[in-house]
Symmetry: D4
Subunit: 153 residues, 8 copies
């Protein structure tokens, strides 16, 4: 069988350690995975526009400049990914996470959602187009291990 390296994009929440837990689990399992992600430094992300292209006093346009610069990264990496994991945490509205899931779905790219059961009803459309709904980073690792190496443990 081929020694393929899988590219996995970790979308969504940037305020908990879920990415680190998935990466640690994957490393421990020895899986051939390269992870990509949006910029997870919240402050930097908010200044992505003004910090690169120059000042802008209007908050709306400051956000729009920043979102454009961030999109260069996110759209490129999502399109280059084999699999996307989309995490919904319990803070903020996280519409960008759902937006990324919509992009993945329309591009025919398999994705896994990661969230608590309390959001099941609100996320039903997003979950329905996903290949799997996980509750913990460890379950995501288990899914990747199975998808990549066919092992359940």
């Amino acid at each position: 069988m081929a020694d393929r390296t899988w590219s996995v994009y970790l979308a969504g929440e940037i305020h908990s350690d879920w990415r680190e837990r998935i990466e640690a689990g994957v490393r421990e399992a020895g899986l051939p995975v390269e992870f990509t992600a949006p910029v997870t430094d919240h402050a930097a992300s908010d200044e992505a526009g003004t910090g690169t292209l120059g000042e802008e006093s209007e908050p709306f346009w400051r956000d729009q400049m920043g979102a454009g610069v961030n999109a260069i990264r996110t759209q490129t990496l999502i399109r280059a990914a084999d699999v996307v994991v989309v995490r919904f945490g319990d803070k903020y509205r996280q519409w960008n996470a759902a937006f990324d899931a919509g992009c993945a779905a329309a591009l025919g790219k398999p994705y896994v959602t990661l969230h608590d059961p309390e959001f099941d009803h609100a996320l039903k459309e997003v979950d329905r187009a996903a290949q799997a709904v996980a509750r913990t980073p460890e379950q995501v690792v288990a899914v990747l291990r199975y998808a990549i190496e066919g092992r359940l443990a």
Copy 2:
């Protein structure tokens, strides 16, 4: 110039009268528009699966059945639309609205968002991929009038 009928899909919030206001405004302006939308009867939408395919006791799977049946409608109509309008209200998490926007973006289909300024920061990625950000249904009507007939009033 051609007598084209435009198909406009009205995605998102189902708890206020924004669709009616847009439709009334478009009718008053005499624009050649056919509107489509998700099922906006919340109760019916929640029973879309069990009401058509049979009982299911687990809430998670009940939601998944319903989301699938709803997707037959929404995915078909979004792909058939010329333009999508995506409304974010102030209740619920509305991840499906952001998901629809992501689909539209990935399909190269122009969309307009409709929301209050308080959500500007949280919606910056969704707004950035939109062609226009409107604050009122009347602004959406103005955008459609301009896009379809080239008139500003």
Copy 3:
């Protein structure tokens, strides 16, 4: 809302009256649906090649000629459909039904499967990529009624 006519392709089994039952139910419900289907006359279908292009003594090539002529119809109509319904009956192997489902899935076209629970395990991959799994033609009618008109009954 728009007065859209939906195109629904009825794929799969040709040995029971499931198509007639769906069509009758849809007519009774007054839904704006145009149905398309493969040629359901088994004898004609088997002679699709030799009956149009001339004799062929080898069974393998006779089948290949016929399958090509049938594909002109089926591929055109599947690509033109909004929704595909795929029926798996209890006779024959019906690989062409699963093939049609695979085409629909890869084209991003929503489909509904229709089969008895005894096939659930064997059809799990096909069902997973479907938007709905129905057990009776009446459930398919209910799904179409909901998807098209948003009514549950």
Copy 4:
């Protein structure tokens, strides 16, 4: 001429040694091929959902969970393959094999079927969209050797 490595996905039956025979033949012929495949451990495959995402008592949903997790692997690898080989054995219904063939056909990806003549009539649609119909793993090896190196023996 280029020293290209070909990616070949081996879809379908998981109860005989056809994959091993193709791989052995390709190795012996010294062809630059990387093989990929679904998970071929039947027990693991059936537990792909519950073994990674947690318990589920309903058989239907257990299968759906498993099929989703398996699809992460199969859809990624089919899309990454240059050529797909689809094997139909004499046991089980193997609808997933026909589904994979339908996906490959709709994606414009060349595929080879591998099956006994007794299935010719039932597989005529699937065979018609294939580039070749083989009877033995050795014939598949011969096809790959020719396609990759232009040698007939």
Copy 5:
């Protein structure tokens, strides 16, 4: 069943009456078909560039101008067609017919070739990607009748 009108593009040879024979047969059979075709007036076709865009003395560029103008028609109509019929006659090299077949194949559009057996070997690649190989216009009519109405006679 739906009352669909099929669009059939008749590509290739412009020096015999095969188009008229197909159209007469289709009319007689009462099939809902709209035919499209390249410009079949050889003299007009050769002057398509100079007759519309102005003089050009170099034969090579005269041909290139004409081919561009012809392509506006042919590429638009091929993309709009449900089915393409490609005729290879016994005169001239007819590379444009094979080119049109290649376009149809790459676009996933079903096509039927129409030629004498003497060209079978030279056309084997073109025939292989076709859904049917016909010898007479009447066979093409029979194929269309079957594909559209499911009748063999």
Copy 6:
């Protein structure tokens, strides 16, 4: 032959009467064409954003708002067109005309350029991807007459 209505998008310069001359010529020739175009009222076009979505004092963002609203119209109509005509006049930089040509080229949509020979060198990349280069509106009419009806005069 089919009674097809062709959709022709007239892109580019909005300061001369070239659109009217093409429309008059097409009407006189009795061709079945529906024309579409960007908003050609320069003042309205410049206010497309502020006139529909509200005030904006920064010229850069005012332009960006307007360009987004205009794009709803232009992107929809270009994608719906069979053929695009792109006019380059002698005033302004007309980068949007070249941008529209690039879109058409990447979408595989045939287009015709219309400009004076003095721009030949500067437009060589844009002309090269076009199907025809016309010098006068009357030549565009001649191209459409030929493409649609196969007549040279």
Copy 7:
């Protein structure tokens, strides 16, 4: 600038040394090119089906089997190529060369034709969709050198 290796597919005539001349010229110029091509051993190519899949007495089906097996190679390599060169020689009808050009055109892949002026009129459609028309293998080398390294000599 990037150290990119270009993949160039050499389609068409297999009875003269044009491929060797292009390869020698490219090697001499030190260009980073990997060449691919159809099987150029005419006898092997004619037996591609029967030599891999088993005997077939009917010439038509023998050719069809062979064309399918050849297509696994040619379709894979054309789709993987950056640039296609299509050679038309003075023998045989070479419809497969024109077919390959049609595939390349529909896939948006740039191609260069290589043929004598005597075929200019017959190849005008094929040449028009090409990026360049060359008369000698040395000209193709010059085109590749320019396209890859920007040098004219």
Copy 8:
């Protein structure tokens, strides 16, 4: 995180040192970027056709030959790029730069424009479809550093 190399295509103006400044800045920042670009030697670019394919006395056709040969390079590299930067300088009409931007937009590929504020109004359509509008090469470097490594300085 993955050690991805990004491919960045630098389109547009060839008469100032903006490419060198971006490359120097990227090198200094240690970013994993491979740059590609059109041929920037103006004289060579103008002779791309006649210098490779032979003489041509008519300026229009000389330009067309050259533009075709240049397009082999530019179209291949734009399609292979992750990100495109499009520079508009103050000389010449630079329609090819806007054409490249249109291609990128239609292909869903993120691009950054680089130009002085004096062109903001004329470039509003091109800027609107971009992810970022930069004024200096150093800002482009900052955008790439952020997009690739998530660092603002």
